[in-house]
Point group: C2
Chain length 141, copies 2
């Protein structure tokens, strides 16, 4: 469940047969510097040397590799996030804007119950929580 370093991602890229290009290295650094989630255009803005199309291509590639995931904000817009390769969900703080990953075996097993009850076979799912993080709650006690 730990953060993936740009370095490790570079190794993953070449291991999978993708080329290690300057734009890709560049974008990995930028994303790591942008905090816990970022919009596509924030990346574009922070990497002026890299073309727009390349930013979107790279975002998609990294999603396919499982090291970038989408975050659905409360208004429905999408953000992106360097994320652990494992399955996880997001808890978004509406006060400070932070995103935390979490996973819950109990939750996954409830989904299996839903499958049995409804006949729907779940191949993938997405769960986002919106609320206030522990730090913000402590602060405004």
């Amino acid at each position: 469940m730990s953060q993936v370093s740009p370095d490790a991602i570079e190794r993953l890229l070449s291991r999978r047969g993708y080329r290690l290009t300057a734009p890709r290295r560049n974008l990995l650094e930028v994303m790591a510097s942008l905090g816990d989630h970022f919009s596509a255009d924030a990346v574009v803005g922070a990497a002026p040397e890299v073309g727009r199309a390349t930013v979107f291509r790279t975002l998609r590639l990294l999603q396919d590799l499982g090291v970038v995931c989408q975050v659905v904000l409360d208004d429905g817009t999408l953000a992106y996030r360097l994320a652990p390769e494992e399955h996880h969900h997001h808890a978004l703080c509406v006060e400070c804007g932070s995103v935390e990953d979490f996973s819950s075996p109990a939750l996954e097993s409830v989904l299996r119950e839903v499958e049995e009850a409804t006949g729907f076979s779940v191949e993938a799912h997405r769960l986002e929580l919106y609320g206030r993080c522990a730090a913000c709650r402590a602060a405004s006690n």
Copy 2:
């Protein structure tokens, strides 16, 4: 958990002090005719007499009233849906494209456990399932 009729929504609008205008009536009919979920532009296309801005304004109003909800498709794009006012989630069939609502008390109680374990206080959440519906599974047995 039942479908909300255009008529009932019209009554809801005036009860809340909103005007019953021709564009609003028109859009409610159109949405009811568009099936279980639809894009904003599908509504625009199906209601040529109504201005684009009004379509988006009306979508937002109906979301605020709780009779339209967002559906996050598997690629992250948003669709809309005339939906029950109660809290619910979506099961999207990747084969036939249908959307079904469901709710699960067990799931909600797991979220309360997550709250206690993490200190994050959940004010809202969003869960979408992607898979194959019972009908499609039966068909391609």
